[in-house]
């Protein structure tokens, strides 16, 4: 199928995007790389009178190294992150995850902001930015606001974004030298959506220990604190986490438990020996 007719507008600036969206009263949608929105328009799962392109705007393609975070413009593509064209503040986490998103053709066009705005529970950035609780910077008619990713995501395909708001950037925390991470996902074949995601981030200097179960029916489950994470090695604690994640089917519970456990094992296995 082909999409129903829509108007395609190139905005002049991020503020211009917001103005155009506000004028359409909910019938316009911002579009980034259109790697998810495009197919959904073609399948007519989504209909929009007007698409306002944001991915060509230089201000949204920029990045900036700040004191505590790397601010990544919303229109930065997965491919640029994969290729290491941004400063690596996550000890390789972001490039490794970017390289595993769909196919290179998708990564060439798909954007970080677009992926978060789409909020597909199986999307890699949804899990990773929740794991890092990255700040999502939104721009609306009343200016900018920043919300933690865990609050930004409300449910499957549902976020805090108002119809006249766009994501302009994502603030990714700069890892301390001793920070470590692991990321596992299970998918039927490369490029398919994940059936289960397990990820861990520990950063003792920042006082952070977070584990995440992703690719769930809704928002990812985050388990905080070194003790709670260590407890996942116990079957009872893992079963509780699967309950908390809303998983009922035996097959899905098994997959998520295995992927989570392997992510935890990776963190141990690749632990640096003391200097």
């Amino acid at each position: 199928m082909k999409a129903a007719a829509f108007e395609h507008v190139h905005a002049a600036s991020a503020r211009d995007v917001v103005k155009l969206l506000a004028a359409e009263d909910g019938l316009a949608k911002p579009c980034g790389g259109t790697q998810s929105l495009g197919p959904m328009l073609n399948l007519r799962l989504v209909q929009a009178d007007k698409l306002v392109r944001v991915s060509h705007l230089d201000e949204l393609k920029a990045f900036e190294l700040r004191a505590d975070v790397l601010r990544i413009g919303a229109a930065v593509t997965h491919a640029r992150i994969e290729d290491g064209l941004l400063p690596d503040v996550t000890h390789g986490l972001l490039p490794a995850v970017a390289a595993s998103i769909a196919y290179r053709a998708v990564r060439n066009r798909g954007t970080l902001g677009g992926s978060l705005a789409h909020a597909d529970p199986a999307a890699d950035w949804v899990s990773v930015m929740c794991l890092l609780d990255a700040g999502v910077v939104l721009l609306g008619p009343n200016g900018e606001r920043s919300v933690p990713c865990s609050e930004f995501l409300i449910g499957p395909f549902t976020t805090l974004l108002e119809s006249d708001e766009i994501i302009v950037a994502v603030d990714v925390p700069r890892f301390s030298p001793t920070a470590r991470w692991s990321y596992r996902k299970m998918c039927r074949k490369p490029g398919e959506f994940a059936e289960a995601v397990g990820a861990v981030w520990t950063d003792p200097e920042r006082g952070v220990a977070r584990a995440l179960m992703g690719a769930l029916g809704g928002v990812p489950l985050v388990i905080e604190g070194a003790a709670a994470i260590a407890a996942l090695a116990q079957p009872a604690a893992m079963q509780r986490a699967l309950d908390d994640a809303g998983l009922e089917e035996p097959y899905e519970r098994e997959l998520h438990a295995v992927v989570m456990r392997r992510a935890l094992q990776d963190l141990d296995r690749f632990a640096r020996s003391p200097a």
């Binding site: 299970m186 039927r188 074949k189 490369p190 490029g191 097959y251 098994e254 295995v258 992927v259």
Partner: protein, 484 residues
């Protein structure tokens, strides 16, 4: 055996609804010798979309059922599965062989194909690796399967089915055009089978002209003979036979004209390198010169010239129309992640016998394309329905196809046992690549799962099916441990 086929709501062709089931009843014995056989089949009308014949019609399912069962027998008997197969396969000295359902096997050495595939796989090395265990905890499994593929079967076979439309013979129009090129007009259709290449080679064999000077015209009965078309692995045999027959008739015409122009006997002329050659004297005429004389200078023709000229339409009728039997053994090794249910194919080897191969590279292409399709059947492709009969995979976002990353490197070994019934000894083989993989791969998976007491008996062997089988096996074992 009782076989039920879910045929859907309508028959898309007068007999398509019953084709799959009807085939099962006659091809279920596969390449095995059997003393007794009983099979009842059912075509069941349901509220689903209709089924249509698909590459390997019924053979993929038959091969799957038969070969999975043989592996179960081997496991129960504590034997390597190929030992059970070798003891039951039709032997080369039995050829030609009429099996228990009356199928006439033209030629072949099935045990040799199986042994060659198993040897190429290096079974002892895989068994040793399997016993040693993998560092990553995955389980190694080895599996194989063998099948036969009847191709190019014709009038006597289909008229016996009592169906309303029966295929007949095959024609080709061949003409030498004024520039010395050759046009071949056939009723079959080439949509990826490389007939342009293969049939040009047939013409080269008969007429000795460069394949690049051959043009295949097909796909429009305004310009070609009628035909039942491309199906049933028939084109190499039927269109190949028609092209050869037409080219031979054309050669007689060419030689007659050239004989007059060269002042030689037609019997003393040879066709080679795009020319007609009188070997004794070394005198020659190019086909272009012969064509030019015929079309532009008819005054140079003999008084008793055949006015039919350089254009013939001739048909091909097989010496025996029960078809050719090509076959192959597929052998593979897989690694199964028993926690996630994922499967990686580590090695895949095929020993195929397609009779005399007209073009081995085209044959490899058919096998590889079929293999990709078969791997899809084995591990990915599925058309699920809900309890109301609603299809759940109606777009390619839901219907999973294998891609480049899912296909292993493949080793192909060719045997070439000539068919006694065809023009060059060639056999039809267009469907075989897709027939064997589900059986070979699921046998390998079950070989890996056997120590855990689990087995998969359905396609595709998705992670869900594999984990379900393992969970079921664990539950059974837990029950067995509970004291009565």
């Amino acid at each position: 055996c009782d076989a039920s086929v879910d045929s859907g709501a309508y028959s898309s062709y007068p007999f398509a609804a019953c084709l799959e089931a009807a085939q099962v009843g006659s091809i279920l014995p596969g390449p095995y010798k059997m003393d007794a056989f009983d099979c009842r089949t059912w075509s069941v009308a349901t509220n689903k979309p209709p089924i249509l014949p698909y590459r390997g019609v019924a053979r993929t399912g038959v091969c799957f059922a038969l070969e999975i069962m043989i592996d179960k027998v081997a496991r129960a008997a504590g034997l390597e599965p190929h030992v059970v197969r070798l003891a039951n396969l039709v032997q080369p000295q039995d050829m030609p062989f009429d099996n228990i359902t009356g199928k006439h096997f033209d030629s072949g050495d099935y045990p040799q194909a199986l042994r060659r595939a198993i040897d190429a796989l290096d079974l002892p090395a895989w068994r040793a690796r399997q016993a040693a265990g993998e560092a990553d905890g995955r389980r190694i499994g080895v599996g194989h399967s063998i099948y036969c593929e009847q191709g190019a079967h014709g009038t006597s076979v289909y008229s016996g089915w009592g169906i309303p439309m029966v295929p007949g013979f095959e024609q080709c129009s061949a003409r030498l055009v004024p520039d010395g090129g050759l046009e071949l007009r056939i009723g079959a259709h080439s949509h990826g089978q490389s007939m342009e290449t293969t049939l040009a080679q047939v013409a080269n064999t008969v007429l000795g002209l460069d394949e690049a000077d051959v043009r295949l015209v097909h796909g429009d009965t305004a310009m070609s003979p009628y035909s039942t078309g491309t199906w049933g692995s028939r084109c190499a045999v039927m269109s190949g036979g028609a092209v050869a027959t037409a080219c031979k008739a054309l050669a007689v015409r060419v030689k007659a004209i050239a004989a007059h122009l060269l002042e030689a006997e037609a019997d003393a002329l040879w066709l080679e390198d795009g020319s007609v050659v009188h070997r004794a004297s070394g005198r020659r005429l190019t086909l272009r010169e012969v064509a030019h004389a015929w079309y532009r200078q008819p005054q140079r023709m003999a008084a008793d010239v055949d006015a039919g000229g350089l254009e013939v339409t001739v048909g091909y009728k097989a010496r025996r129309d029960t078809g050719t039997f090509s076959y192959a053994a597929h052998a593979c090794a897989v690694a199964v992640d028993i926690e996630l249910g994922t499967v990686e194919i580590l090695q895949y080897l095929i020993c195929e016998d397609g009779g005399v191969l007209i073009n081995p590279m085209v044959v490899d292409g058919q096998i590889l394309g079929g293999l990709a399709q078969g791997i899809g059947t084995a591990l990915y492709e599925e058309m699920p329905y809900d309890s109301e009969g609603q299809p759940l995979a109606s777009t390619l976002a839901d219907y999973m196809l294998p891609g480049a990353t899912e296909l292993p490197m493949v080793g192909i070994d060719h045997m070439e046992t000539a068919s006694p019934y065809t023009e060059f000894g060639q056999k039809g083989l267009g469907e075989g690549g897709a027939i064997a993989p589900p059986a070979a791969i699921i046998n390998a998976i079950n070989d890996a799962l056997a120590p855990l007491g689990a087995e998969v008996l359905e396609c595709p062997a998705s992670p869900r099916r594999i984990l379900d089988a393992l969970r079921k096996a664990r539950a059974l074992q837990a029950d067995a441990k509970v004291p009565a």
